[in-house]
């Protein structure tokens, strides 16, 4: 646990950095799922340069529309603030074809969320995160000492927030899929913590004379390799998703990648350190 101070400083820095990034950018960059609005992906054949498409939209009065080129094959993402009564894809298609006749515009996907639904999804998302963390807290609390569960959940919260911060820093959008990734990280990143806790429980039964600090130190060291190995196998598959999974799933994969990375670090250095410190120096042995 000599690393404890170092881990705390690093985590605190990351955490504060995350808060700074989040505040500076006015919270995570919410996708249409949570803000309401319209997202359209369309393929233009032949491919037209972005500034031409931009100009076509401007001429048609779509000044608030955000335009983003995805991939090199004429795929464009259009973000519109509001949902209109008329079909936004038809409006965009007409605007483009008016300026560039002969261009074929094919709808890849459209996501349109009304402001009311956006608000509902936002509160649902918050509830989902709280419920998941709460559920894990209760389960781990039942299976291990409650103090350990608190340490584990604090470190989970740390993982989720930092992942969110990094995603925001990279300018990625917070969507339902990213929420799914965050919850999965919450469920998965605690696995390493459990491996360590299990070992602590086993060792403290064997080594009754050692202090809790020594037991935790020993346990973390003994399980370090498997903690890294298990995360590594998941990182491998997440990498495959990130590279080959395509645009739609990219944010999910990226979020998982960041989350698993920080999750491994936090289970090793943060969770058990927290458990020790919350536990306080008074406690020598452990129940069970």
């Amino acid at each position: 646990m000599a690393f404890r101070k170092f881990a705390y400083i690093l985590s605190a820095t990351l955490f504060v950095g995350t808060i700074v990034v989040l505040v500076a950018r006015g919270g995570p960059r919410m996708g249409v799922d949570f803000t309401g609005g319209t997202l359209i992906e369309a393929k233009l054949t032949p491919n037209e340069p972005a500034d031409k498409v931009r100009a076509a939209l401007d001429n048609a009065g779509f000044r608030q529309a955000e335009l983003q080129n995805v991939g090199a094959t004429g795929d464009y993402l259009f973000r519109l603030q509001q949902t209109s009564k008329e079909d936004p894809f038809v409006l965009i298609k007409n605007a483009i074809q008016k300026e560039m006749p002969g261009t074929e515009v094919v709808l890849m996907r459209a996501e349109s969320v009304g402001p009311k639904i956006g608000k509902e999804l936002r509160s649902k998302a918050i509830w989902a995160v709280l419920l998941a963390l709460g559920g894990i807290l209760v389960y781990v609390g039942l299976r291990y000492e409650f103090i350990f569960a608190v340490g584990a959940v604090i470190s989970l919260f740390h993982d989720v927030i930092i992942t969110l911060g990094v995603m925001t820093f990279l300018g990625r959008e917070f969507t339902l899929t990213v929420l799914a990734a965050l919850l999965t990280i919450a469920g998965y990143s605690i696995n390493d913590t459990i491996v360590v806790f299990d070992r602590i429980r086993e060792q403290s039964r064997l080594l009754r004379r050692e202090s809790l600090k020594d037991v935790i130190d020993l346990s973390v060291n003994q399980t370090l390799s498997r903690t890294i190995l298990t995360s590594f196998t998941v990182i491998l598959t997440v990498l495959a998703l990130l590279i080959f999974g395509g645009e739609v799933i990219r944010d999910f994969a990226l979020c998982m990648f960041i989350g698993v990375f920080f999750g491994t670090y936090s289970s090793t250095y943060v969770a058990s350190a927290l458990a020790l410190d919350i536990h306080g120096p008074a406690a020598k042995g452990m129940r069970r």
Partner: protein, 525 residues
């Protein structure tokens, strides 16, 4: 210690056999290409589809709509079953539109979810579903009444809308007579405004709350399409009687017809046939109002307002306009299916085009294969023979996962594929934990058999606990998520449960089988 081996092996064989049984239809269905599928009788295909893993809208392309029923303006009694009636109407329309396996269901108190897989023209379907299709036959005020009402509107707008006095912005409007100063003519009961003025007039009338200033038996309605007066394009404002003489509920059938409007030959329209009761009302109304105009009003817009020349005994009418063939066909569908009891608004839409769906499948499969290759490579290098055992368990894990998806009639979505890819990475975790433990036991000098026994026993709790925590968060996701996310939560959950069996039970069985045959001096781990 090894006496139960046979039974355990038998259990594994049975489970595997069952999983093969459930997966065969999916493999048969998805291994065929479109032409092979077309060659099979539809019945067989339907059967096969029922038993196969279903693809989500994000993979096969399609549209997911959430519609909200706008109950404002409904009486309390009407509001009660408005959603159910709206669902009926929507279902009728979708059925007539012809979509395979649509899903239409109520969500919450006043929402309807509509899922239309494999749709080629989502815009058209949306227009078809969302149109209120409230059809009315309404008498139009006479020219004299109309003149009167225009004067009244002049006064109301001049008084209530200060903007009309802004001569800089509206130089052509007479502040005292904002409406009549811009009208071009009154033709029968219709007031014609040029294209350039019509939007301003409409805005002024709305701001002034003109409808409330009219006598109780009158209301305003605009023409649905651009009309022409002496070659000038514009819109026509009508003063209609409040109470319709006849509504869409008296329509028996609606058909696409051609040559319905002598002015527009060859352009399609919709011809209507009324019910028997409707015919007699129509005959009475036309008989009593010869010389007056009867407006055909669809969703508050006047489609046409012909003058009644003679009593019409047969209940027949038509709706004409600048329709394309498709629009006329869709209008006839909505009129046949009936009007919605209240307007619907789209509050959520998720549409995936068929090409993106196909692309997502191939990319998802590529990612899954490459992800497995990474894991396989790593496990083989790091754990050698035991690694191969873990890979076998992983493959079995994914196999069972797919079989369970087919058995539970689950839907595979793109996030669902991501769930499978994650399962591949997580499923070997259990084996990593076990193998590391066995290595540790071997280092303390225990025999191979005992090390295996201890390794499994001690790693089991950890594996159980870690799988349960992931299950907790995927259960929450399943509860809160929308379609594609639910698919993710489902595959991940099944994957983790199957993992307890494949990574722990099956691999242990194989080790036991190896150890029980002969004494192993060393273990490839």
């Amino acid at each position: 210690m090894y006496k139960n081996l046979k039974w355990k092996a038998l259990l594994t064989v049975i489970i595997t056999a069952v999983s093969i049984y459930y997966l065969v239809p999916s493999f048969r269905l998805y291994s065929q290409n479109a032409t092979q599928r077309a060659a099979l009788p539809t019945e067989d295909i339907t059967k096969l589809r029922d038993k196969s893993v279903k693809l989500g809208l994000d993979l096969q392309g399609g549209m997911h709509l959430v519609l909200e029923v706008d109950k404002t303006g409904l009486k309390e009694k009407e509001a009660e079953d408005a959603v159910d009636r709206a669902i009926e109407v929507v279902r009728n329309r979708v059925d007539q539109f012809g979509v395979a396996e649509p899903l239409i269901q109520k969500q919450g108190a006043n929402r309807i979810v509509v899922q239309l897989p494999g749709l080629l023209d989502p815009q058209r379907a949306k227009a078809l579903i969302g149109q209120t299709a409230k059809l009315e036959f309404v008498l139009v005020s006479t020219p004299d009444e109309t003149k009167d009402l225009v004067n009244r509107l002049d006064a109301v707008v001049a008084q209530r809308v200060p903007a009309v006095r802004d001569t800089a912005k509206y130089p052509y409007f007479d502040p005292e007579k904002p409406i009549s100063s811009r009208m071009l003519t009154i033709e029968f009961g219709g007031v014609f405004f040029g294209e350039e003025d019509a939007p301003d007039v409409e805005k002024f009338l709305t701001e002034a709350g003109a409808d409330s200033a009219l006598p109780i038996d009158s209301r305003l309605a605009w023409s649905a399409e651009t009309e022409y007066f002496q070659g000038r394009p514009g819109k026509v404002l009508y003063f209609l009687k409040t109470k319709p003489e006849l509504t869409g509920s008296e329509i028996a059938t609606a058909r696409v017809g051609i040559n319905l409007d002598p002015d527009k030959p060859n352009s399609p329209g919709v011809s209507l046939t009324m019910t028997r009761a409707g015919s007699s009302i129509f005959s009475r109304v036309t008989g009593a109002n010869i010389g007056k105009q009867l407006a055909i009003v669809l969703d508050g817009k006047v489609r046409s307002a012909p003058v009644i020349r003679t009593k019409i005994p047969r209940g027949e009418a038509s709706i004409t306009g600048n329709f394309t063939d498709k629009e006329a066909a869709d209008l006839s569908i909505v009129l046949r299916a009936g009007a919605l009891p209240a307007p619907l608004s789209v509050v959520e839409e998720r549409t995936v085009g068929p090409s993106l769906g196909q692309d997502s499948i191939s990319k998802g499969v590529t990612a899954a294969l490459i992800g497995s290759l990474f894991v396989i490579g790593f496990m083989c290098i790091y754990y050698r023979l035991s690694g191969i055992l873990a890979i076998f368990a992983m493959v079995l894990n994914v196999w069972y996962l797919l079989a369970a998806l087919a058995a539970l009639h689950g839907t595979l979505t793109l996030p669902g594929i991501a769930g499978i890819v994650l399962t591949i990475g997580m499923s070997v975790d259990a084996n990593v934990l076990i193998f590391e433990r066995i290595r540790e036991e071997l280092r303390t000098g225990k025999t191979v058999a005992r090390s295996i026994e201890f390794g499994y026993e001690r790693a089991f709790r950890t594996i159980l606990d870690s799988n349960v925590t992931t299950l907790i968060s995927s259960a929450v996701l399943f509860q809160f998520g929308t379609g594609p996310i639910k698919g993710f939560a489902l595959t991940l959950s099944i994957g983790l449960i199957a993992n307890m069996f494949t990574a722990v039970f099956v691999t242990k069985l194989i080790y036991d089988a190896m150890v029980s045959r002969r004494r192993l001096e060393s273990l490839s781990i």
